[in-house]
Amino acid sequence: MKVPILRHGGILLTSFQDDMTDRDALNLQADLLEMIKQTGDTAVLMDVTSLQMIDSYQANMISETGAMARLLGCEVVLSGVQPKVALTLVELGDVISGIRTVLNIGEGLTLLQDSISRPSEDETAEEDSVNENSEGKERASSDELILETSANEEVSNGP
């Protein structure tokens, strides 16, 4: 089974499928890395909405794929972990690590679009994003917080 990788506004979007074999997943990993190289895109959204379970091997595969894409200079976000899958994954062990997760594809795209557009924008735009409503702030990642802090916005006071 060949899993497609879509391009959407500088974001590479791929979706892990429930009936993938391990080989399919390995192929997807290789295809994604090749696609990053070819397109020069710097954002990857991996969606797992259709996964009805994630075992330790698949979890490892997802983490690894994310790590590889990051090594190629991409911002990586994982979306769509189902609540029932999250419950089981945590019981199984803390197996998806070092990867930014959001609830669904929409949030993932919003987040990555922000990360793509930010470097080319001027400081005013950055301040605007800091002054967004609380919903926007809730979504802010630790990475974003660091960036925003450097734009003279105290986020929290250290001890």
Partner: protein, 139 residues
Amino acid sequence: MSSRFQSSLDIVTENDVRRARKHARTIAHRGGLGEREEVRLTTIVSELTRNILKYAGQGTCEFELQHIGGRILVRCTCRDQGPGIADVDAAMTDGYSTGATLGVGLPGVKRLADYFHIETGDQGTVVAIELDMHGNPHV
């Protein structure tokens, strides 16, 4: 009222791992398991059948579904004739793996199951797990 259903799958190729997961889902639906139990069962089956392929090359995965009164009992037994696990205690420890993976497989399965039993030796390995629900599966 009680009923009993049994099935068995040969695990020889990667595709069989996928089939075993699907079959586990079918068992879960047939047994009337809750959503969470279904994911626990399919995850366990995926881990155990994957281990068969990886460490023994081939084996079998047997299912048994029983309704006893209001109680639902799912038993899954994975057998192989592989070389066995040299150090079971180590294999049951988080983070231990001889196969360059995360090493949460067996201890993770034990956490997900209501009952877990492993026997291993140079004749092979048998892992048996049970999910035991009392007719009121929490979702």
